[in-house]
Amino acid sequence: MQETSFLYIPLLPLIAFVLNILLGKRVFKERSHWIAIAGVAASFVLALLTLKEVLNGRVVNFDLYTWLSSGDLKVSVGFLIDPLTAVMLIVVTTVSLLVHIYSIGYMHEDDGYYRFFSYLSLFTFFMLMLVMSNNFLQLYFGWEAVGLCSYFLIGFWYEKRSAAVAAKKAFVVNRFGDFGFGLGVILIFLTFGSLHYNTVFRGLASAVGQTVNILGIHTDLLTVIALLLFCGAAGKSAQLPLHVWLPDAMEGPTPVSALIHAATMVTAGVFMVARTNPIFNASPTAMTVVALVGGLTALFAATIALVQNDIKRVIAYSTVSQLGYMFMACGVGAYAAGIFHLYTHAFFKALLFLGAGSVMHAMQGQLDIQKMGGLKKHMPITFWTMFVASLSISGIPGLAGFFSKDEILFRTISSHNPAGIIVWLLGTAAALLTAFYSFRVVFLTFYGNFRGDAEVGKHLHESPNTMTLPLIVLGVGAVAAGFVGIPHVLGGHDNFAVFLSSVVGHPTGEGSVAKEWAVMILSVIISLTGIGSAYFMYIVRPDLPKKISVSFSAVHRVLFNKYYVDELYDIVIVKGFYWISNNILNKVVEKTVIEGVVNGVPSIVNWIGQRLRFLQSGIVFHYSTIMAAGLLVMALYVLFSIWKTL
């Protein structure tokens, strides 16, 4: 491979975007996908070649040009290709390519066909820039820019009010996270004098133990930096308390949900924590926070997923929950396990979304799983692939999800971190729920009798080849992707972790072989229990769910309404700030106080002027009287002065 040929990996999708956005409407029209697919397919091939080079031990750190230089600040547009980047390149280009192909069928006959493919290409470009960056500023650039594409794509059907609102919400909630991220980047520069990863990580030793004064409290500097960075990660990866945007993001077309809101963009937070792992390693406090937030989110989102009826929302909460797992791993220092889960999750979660899209396609846009049922015989490919994906996410041995989830749970319980055991409990509990809600969807959608409109029921059909082909490919991934990381106890070599170890190191903590077996067996039992109870409730005793939801109506209501977090934010933040801005700032401060003074001064001047007018009455008698009075005063003054000197 040429020295700089990796530059084409992001460049080709960018070219595809430019061509499509300028010429798509008039020239390419319904053939727009060719340009986009050509771009991302070429990137995919180059990514494979790059992976091969990196496997051979090559690492590239290359500055293209100086982006910004001011005073001591000097940042390049630069690229770092190492094992972590190589993995991300494969994930991004693979899923992107498959989603591109899938969209040919899914977006067929949509008015914004060329626009859709332009945005997909643009997203792919920014995402690749993000993972290939060699410095914090370019990371931030890619970070916000993928948010921009997410905004465009969530709001793709912008005539729909809900879509427009969801797009804005996603961007703004992410801005809350980026507020912290941005400050973190600034603190990094002020501490290390550089924003390039290498320089920063090399200078870490000197910053250990430094404190920073925050509103009078001395806090460990690296902890502050790590937590600020994590703030951004929590926003992008939809962790508590910034998770609210992701479920709403389902307003976008389903291929977008698969690509951006499951496989790639939302995992950027995990990537960032893994990329900056030396900083996190230097702060045990920050690590504990990451692990706990991850664990709590994993369980929290899983409970919500139990009762949702919108098929995409169930999968969305599932994504939030699975991202929680990845942060759990990072929080206990097992970054490789986190990235491993990121990689397997990309396959089975993209598959679940695309499968859901295929179901929607057949159901003419219906999303409510209560109105589905018995689709198995009408759409066998969709059924089987989604079934495999659900087995994979539930952690059935041999499938991709099993290896990565098991690795995470084992790493948490064997970690030195005191929070490890709590996190393990949270993760295990979430695993039970994951298996349950995943199969709840499968059983309600594909088994039993059809419960929807009779008219819709007549036209149930399998999706076209362009849509089923990606499903099959991802299905293979959901089965086999885990084979690169089979742990030693199962006779494997843990190749994935070894490959990444040069970037993320080895996880700390000791775990015996017996413990590893115990964790593994327990999690298998748990996932089987989850699937089994879903089978019991939705196949054997379909009357049961209703009864349970009635007898536990309070719990059900809280879960169904997502713990009322959105309502809380709406009252406290959205309405609260609007009220303050409108009533206090706009009406009192601006209109009454400031404008009162501004308009008041001329009024006072005017008032005085009106009074002074009387002095110029134009009557000679008045003037002479005043003159006489003046003379008298002056004469008295002179006399007084003379008298005083005497």
């Binding site: 650039f141 820019a145 005539e159 009010r161 427009a164 520069f189 002020l190 609007y578 700032l585 501004v598």
Partner: protein, 490 residues
């Protein structure tokens, strides 16, 4: 132009265009001959003007002013073009006023003699007052008078400061005044007097309330000149006069200035959220953005000042573009109420694409110019005062909220009956917006072109502020001596 018959509107417009394009052409040798390596004045023109008062016609350009001169020249062309078909009443007078404004604003940025500067500064006011008051919206008279009086009060105080400086140094020449040793207390007094004029122009909180009225009521070209150039004169004033002439006072008053800037950023943003008038919202966003500029300037370090200077250009480009955009659509609908719009993205797709780029530039998305400026400013601000920087940083969240909410209400959702069938932008309008679009990405992706022009001058300025302050650090007794010196002046 004054000689042309008022019926020959085409000729008048043509002359205005030729003049503004010629001015732009004149800036090309400026750009090519500009030496980035020196902080000295370049392209100096110096003539005796009023000998008895030692006043000179003294023009020059350095890194502080070059970008503003270029921006002024570009803005003038765009303003002529946008008014081409939209101004139908008193065409002759309008274009005369526009060309006068251009002359005065370039004069302001080039004057190196304080008296000459003051003349240009005030000269700009009159045509601007007319543009707002004659060709403005329904509430134009109020807005124009408010604008005039507000700025006049500030200018008069600056005039007093100018006279004090003259009495002190017996010259109006900036370079000579800079060699003066001005006692600390006198610096403080002068700083506040000049501050009055500059703060009103910027505008800083709480003397900003002329801006929403003037910007909103002005005709499109007027709003663009106000937003892109006129309010930059205040920030430029700080950089050109306040910092180098009164370095110690500037350093001492930094906390107050940073506080006002941070308030402006957050306050301006929150006020934006509740606006129901399209144009007024953008006008208020200027208060917030100019807060960033002053925050950067009073960080008094390289990153902050360079960021501030760059942000002056950025704000000129982006807000200028947004006002042009509003003008384009206002010309078709004659309404500025946000609720009268909706679904514009389906009706005017090309227009919407332009608008979204400028929206995200205004929000400061990386890759656009807004990001570069804001990042440098917050970086510089953080080094000076972490608290001010953190508060200001929340401005970028608020910015995203009000701009995206605006975009949602105007461009997304179902098509409002009132805007059905509007024509998308025509070739002329695209030609007007395109250069600004290019600048948005140019500065965002390769800011080096612009930063390298201002770098040397900013370095010199920073050195001067800090160098002087250290050398002149005063003891208490000296300060008291200076107090008596001040009273001698009277």
């Amino acid at each position: 132009m004054a000689l042309v018959n008022r019926r020959q509107e085409g000729l008048i417009k043509g002359i205005a265009l030729v003049v503004s394009v010629f001015t732009m052409l004149l800036t090309i040798p400026l750009l090519r001959g500009f030496n980035k390596g020196t902080a000295e004045l370049q392209f100096v023109e110096k003539y005796e003007w009023i000998k008895s008062w030692n006043i000179q016609y003294y023009l020059g350009i350095d890194g502080i002013s070059i970008l503003m001169v270029l921006l002024s020249a570009l803005t003038a062309i765009l303003c002529v073009l946008i008014s081409w078909n939209t101004v139908k009443d008193k065409v002759k007078e309008f274009f005369i006023a526009l060309v006068l404004v251009e002359g005065a604003m370039i004069g302001v940025f080039c004057s190196m003699d304080l008296f000459l500067f003051y003349i240009f500064w005030e000269a700009m006011l009159i045509p601007m007052y007319l543009i707002v008051g004659v060709w403005g919206g329904s509430n134009r008279i109020y807005a124009a008078i408010k604008f005039f009086l507000y700025t006049l009060v500030g200018s008069v105080l600056m005039l007093i400061g100018l006279i004090i400086l003259y009495v002190h140094g017996n010259t109006f020449e900036l370079t000579k005044l800079m060699t003066l040793q001005i006692p600390y207390n006198l610096q403080l007094l002068l700083f506040w007097l000049f501050f009055a004029a500059f703060a009103v122009k910027v505008p800083m909180f709480p003397v900003h309330t002329w801006l929403p009225d003037a910007h909103t009521e002005a005709p499109t070209a007027g709003s663009v000149v106000l937003a892109a150039i006129l309010i930059k004169m205040g920030a430029y004033g700080f950089l050109r006069f306040s910092l180098p002439l009164f370095p110690q006072a500037s350093l001492a008053l930094t906390p107050a200035m940073l506080t006002l800037s941070a308030i402006a950023i957050v306050y301006g943003g929150l006020i934006c959220m509740v606006q129901s008038d399209f144009k007024r919202l953008i006008a208020y966003s200027s208060v917030s953005h100019m807060g960033f500029v002053t925050l950067g300037i009073f960080s008094l370090n390289m990153n902050g000042v360079e960021g501030g200077l760059l942000q002056m250009v950025n704000h000129g480009v982006v807000t200028g573009a947004l006002f042009l955009c509003i003008g384009i659509v206002y010309d078709r609908t004659h309404t500025r109420q946000i609720t009268d719009y909706g679904g514009l993205a389906s009706v005017m797709p090309i227009y919407s694409a332009f608008f979204i780029v400028f929206t995200f530039a205004s929000i400061g998305l990386p890759g656009t110019n807004g990001f570069i400026g804001e990042f440098l400013i917050i970086l510089g601000g953080f080094a000076k005062s972490p608290l001010a920087a953190i508060v200001s940083c929340s401005g970028i969240i608020i910015g995203a909220i009000y701009m995206l909410w605006l975009y949602q209400r105007v461009f997304f959702t179902e098509i409002n009956e009132k805007i059905k069938g509007l024509k998308d932008v025509n070739a002329l309008e695209i030609a007007i917006l395109l250069p600004l679009l290019v600048l948005v990405f140019w500065i965002g992706v390769y800011p080096e072109t612009f930063i390298s022009m201002i770098n040397t001058s900013v370095t010199a300025l920073i050195d001067r502020v800090h160098g002087r302050a250290v050398r002149d650090s005063l003891t208490m007794s000296e300060a008291i001596k200076n107090l008596s010196h001040l009273s001698n002046l009277k």
